[in-house]
């Protein structure tokens, strides 16, 4: 049903060699410009539907500054164009931020991880097929959500955070960076602004056409992981229909600081159940001062699903989410 183009409509392609040049191009062309990272999400949009096509594409592939993993005074900084394979295999990340390495390693397929970037995976658009299929829904600039009706195919859609639109954030790395309390470095014009990962992802209530705080002209340049959570106890699990290659039905990322068997601090983030990676603060609060066992996990899981509003076909996500939280707290898969 989507309006498929045999050929990608034409656009002007720019291949800057520096961040400043890229930001200058993005700023000059504003909403007409498209920042191209790995290109895996972008190519869909260029070809498969009637979303306004970019007049200008800024290919970030030639900007060396955007690649690589660097140690900083307070943790590490990952360039936004670093591939998911590099993130998954990097020794420092594996040693101290294994949560992100695990999340990156579960994205799609090895080929896609070789091409896909951390920044692109974090900033990818939702997979709602009504939206992607060319339906003029709220997110596409219309005024109807076709996914939220009694007869809609909404098995993959949200149980939290709906506001007119019920699409979910499909990223695997997004909940990991929120759990690790990462900071997103965004360049606009000549200056950087640093946004907490938790605030970087936005829901439809705030802006129904975007999934992140990035506005036209902005460029995500790096992701900073503070040392606060380095080497703590992590848990990541992704549930999907096809184990070989699929987007998540739900995924969970947790980071816990445990001393003498007692949880001192915790961050639990679940994705693909809401339009943004959702931090489970009430569940986190229940963990502090207790031993992370089966019983505590069950309690935290029950708290996590409080207020869930399943759609016609995704009631299973409530029990899925409850169990993922329990498993994250318990720390092992049964």
């Amino acid at each position: 049903m989507a309006v498929i183009h045999d050929n990608i409509p034409s656009f002007d392609l720019f291949q800057p060699a520096s961040i400043d040049d890229a930001v200058s191009l993005l700023g000059r062309h504003g909403a007409d410009a498209w920042a191209l990272a790995g290109g895996l999400d972008s190519m869909d949009w260029f070809k498969d539907r009637t979303k306004p096509h970019p007049k200008v594409v800024v290919d970030l592939g030639g900007i060396a500054e955007l690649r690589g993993i660097r140690s900083t005074a307070d943790g590490i900084e990952i360039g936004a164009m670093t591939t998911l394979t590099e993130v998954a295999n990097n020794e420092e990340i594996l040693a101290n931020y294994g949560l992100l390495a695990e999340a990156a390693s579960l994205v799609a397929t090895p080929q896609i991880r070789n091409q896909g970037t951390l920044g692109g995976n974090i900033c990818q658009d939702t997979r709602c097929w009504y939206y992607r299929g060319g339906w003029p829904c709220y997110r596409a600039g219309g005024n109807i959500c076709y996914a939220d009706t009694p007869t809609s195919m909404n098995r993959e859609h949200c149980i939290f955070g709906a506001s007119r639109c019920v699409a979910v954030n499909p990223s695997d790395t997004a909940p990991a960076v929120v759990a690790l309390d990462a900071q997103m470095v965004v360049r606009r014009g000549g200056s950087d602004r640093v946004i907490d990962a938790e605030d970087f992802f936005i829901g439809p209530a705030e802006d129904i056409t975007r999934m992140t705080a990035l506005r036209p002209g902005d460029l995500l340049t790096a992701i900073r992981l503070p040392s606060t959570w380095a080497g703590q106890t992590f848990y990541f699990e992704k549930v999907r229909d096809r184990q070989a290659w699929d987007f998540p039905l739900a995924n969970i990322a947790s980071a816990m600081r445990i001393e003498n068997g007692v949880v001192q601090d915790a961050r639990i983030v679940i994705n693909a159940v809401a339009p943004y990676p959702m931090r489970l603060k009430n569940s986190e609060a229940e963990l502090i001062g207790h031993s992370p066992d089966e019983e505590l996990g069950a309690t935290a899981g029950e708290t996590a699903v409080s207020g869930a509003k399943p759609l016609a076909m995704n009631g299973f996500k409530v029990s899925l989410m409850r169990n993922l939280v329990k498993r994250a707290v318990r720390g092992t898969e049964s």
Partner: protein, 283 residues
Amino acid sequence: MEFLQKATSPWGQEILVRVSWDLFWAVLIGSVVFLLVHQVLRRRWIGKEAEVVEGPGGAEKVTRHSLASRMFHWVMAASMLVLLFTGFLPIVGIKFSWVVIHWWAGLALIASIVFHIIHATVRWTFKEVWVSLRDVKDWWRGMMEALGSSGEKARKPGKYPVDNKLYHYAIIVTSLGVAVTGVLMMMAIDTPFFARDPYFLSEGTWGLVFVIHGLAAIGLVGLVIAHIYFAILPEKLWMTKAMIFGWITRKNYTYYDSERWSVEDSGESPGEAPVDAPVSETS
């Protein structure tokens, strides 16, 4: 500038989506231009209107608005401002979580409208805002006078001058426009009041609902800007104060035709006013 936004369905059909927000900018700019032009012309009119009313009774109170009327006005004003800000700030680029605030404010507006209709029906005050042939003639004379004609002068108005009455009609049309379409739109989102059903209307009808809602809301932007502007003009403040405190002075009252608005007949009793107030009416 386009007036309507349209989209294409997966079947290639053109669907009406909403009014173009270019119109919002046009109304906003037009309103500002109107205010600037009025500011320039106003200085000519004030001198003439200063001689309109001269009379005794500067310290005597005349009740103009009942407590119920004032409460309605301010609830409606507050809800209208919240609706306009939550509706248009995201469009101008200030993004925040606005939807829930918007429809709660909409419910407050609807409640105030229902109250106003019941109140006006019980007190049977419709004739106060009814535009008569005399009002039309006086409006025309007033316009000619404002433009410098030396013909017949407009006569004193009843409780509400004709421009107030016309403004009231414009508010009726636009408020009912946003209220009725707003309730329909609540059926397409998640609220505690309706089971969400976007197929309650066809796509084309939804588009029409959004267009009416948008047009009425954009109209309200201009109307509210004009209303606030006139309310804070120094020569109008006595009217604005009346909407806060409920009364005007006997001297202010002489601006009106006592036969068309008889406070004695309405049983309202005069009292002592703490301050004297200036008198003039310009629009």
